[in-house]
């Protein structure tokens, strides 16, 4: 297995994706907690381009970008496959993982920004949710009826989005607007398969409630 380390923070959806992949493969790893207010030399050296977490280390060599790391873990370690075998299915899995990853920023801005930028982000978020609502209709998993790559990338919209909504009172998702997405999300959070891999929702909520409250207090 070699020496495996993960630099990150427990509440980050990006870091969580990597942990999910490692757990699927049964890989033991050392978790190193980062301080984003005072970035460590390790982070700055191993991810000089983006200076972001997660950074994954295998035998001392760093890999950055959560879905790049997940793909690496799938290729480097034995165990259940995360990406499908068929090239076309793989392309579909990568497509949805990219979609979920790219659109995350706009959704995030809805909660972290104010004014015009927030309104613009809300619009983009609704567009994203419309697409997802259409895609997950009558589907539990994104590709070929099997849990995998895109479903891991979906952790943000599956769990974190709802937490952000509750922590801020800003609601994007309603059952009227996005019935299929809600059905998919309910299953995603509660199914036995995922439950053991997702962080405890109440802990995530407590963390982000405190964060949003602090941000609100600071901006007064």
């Amino acid at each position: 297995m070699g020496d495996v380390k993960l630099l990150g923070l427990w509440y980050s959806p990006f870091v969580h994706r990597v942990e999910w992949a490692l757990k699927i493969k049964g890989v033991e790893y050392e978790f190193i907690e980062e301080n984003l207010q005072n970035k460590s030399p390790l982070l700055l050296e191993s991810n000089p381009i983006h200076k972001k977490i997660p950074v994954f280390f295998h035998n001392g060599k760093p890999i950055c970008e959560s879905m790049v790391i997940v793909e690496y873990i799938d290729e480097a370690f034995e165990g259940p496959s995360i990406l499908p075998k068929d090239p076309y299915d793989r392309a579909i899995a990568r497509f949805w993982a990219k979609f979920l990853d790219d659109k995350l920023q706009a959704i995030g801005k809805t909660f972290f920004f104010k004014g015009e930028e927030q309104e613009k982000a809300k619009g983009e978020a609704y567009e994203t949710l419309k697409v997802l609502d259409n895609e997950v209709k009558d589907k539990k998993f994104f590709v070929a009826d099997k849990f995998g790559f895109a479903d891991i990338a979906a952790n943000f919209v599956g769990l974190w989005l709802g937490v952000f909504e509750e922590a801020t009172g800003i609601v994007l998702v309603t059952r009227e607007k996005f019935p299929n997405f809600c059905a998919w999300r309910d299953e995603y959070i509660n199914c036995t398969q995922n439950k053991e891999y997702l962080p405890p929702r109440d802990e995530l909520l407590a963390h982000f409630q405190a964060r949003f409250q602090a941000a609100a207090a600071a901006s007064k």
């Binding site: 381009i49 295998h58 060599k61 890999i63 950055c64 970008e65 790049v68 790391i69 793909e71 690496y72 290729e75 480097a76 090239p87 076309y88 793989r90 392309a91 990568r94 497509f95 990219k98 979609f99 697409v131």
Partner: protein
């Protein structure tokens, strides 16, 4: 593979379309190219890429693959007996994917801002652009190609932008050769390959195209 039907929905100045042209040429895959009018998108494009409605789209035996980097990976996996683009080592593959992601996230935007902005914003864009080139030069190191001795995944992802350099330099009033000679040496080396030379449009035509876009957006 003899009875494969391969169609590429493309737009001649697109550096993303160029990636697929090069990959298909490297693999010696016969395909039909359909030029899209982006002001009047074809029913086929809207059907094959309903989520983004963008080119390029690769259609293989009737099934669409969207997003250029994903399509290049698909091409590499399906036509795996010729001209491998991704390396075999998982760590090297992760690095290649990281750089493709960097090109899409950072490089494209900085280049675009050079011809779409003026004054201080443009100066900042130029700085960013040159900074990106220097980072990419660092990643290339002493190798002839990002892929090593042969054209690889990152080379294919990046070289199309070179056809836009003349336009960037004209509007940004700078010389890439003066700022990053190593980068230009690499680009010229790529251009010596048939697959690249035949896939990139004439840089003067690209400049004319950018001129019409600037008029259309009222940037003059």
């Amino acid at each position: 593979m003899a009875n494969d039907e391969v169609i590429l929905l493309d737009f001649w100045p697109s550096m993303f379309g160029m990636r697929l042209r090069i990959a298909l040429a490297e693999k010696e895959v016969k395909y039909e190219s359909k030029e899209e009018d982006l002001r009047n998108k074809s029913p086929l494009l809207l059907q094959m890429n309903p989520v983004h409605k963008k080119i390029p789209v690769l259609i293989h035996n009737g099934k669409p693959i969207c997003e250029s980097i994903i399509a290049v990976e698909y091409i590499d996996e399906v036509w795996k007996d010729k001209a491998p683009l991704l390396p075999t080592d998982p760590y090297e593959r992760a690095q290649a994917r990281f750089w493709a992601d960097y090109i899409d996230k950072k490089f494209f935007d900085s280049g675009r801002k050079i011809w779409t902005t003026k004054g201080e914003e443009q100066e900042a864009a130029k700085k960013d652009f040159i900074e990106c080139l220097k980072v990419l030069e660092g990643a290339l190191g002493e190798k002839p190609f990002f892929g090593g001795d042969n054209l690889g995944f990152v080379d294919v992802a990046l070289i199309g932008f070179y056809s836009w350099f003349f336009a960037y330099e004209t509007y940004g009033n700078f010389s890439t050769e003066a700022e990053c000679p190593k980068f230009v040496t690499w680009a010229k080396r790529c251009m010596q390959r048939d697959s690249v030379a035949k896939s990139l449009p004439d840089q003067h035509k690209v400049l004319e195209f950018v001129q019409t876009l600037r008029k259309k957006y009222g940037i003059e």
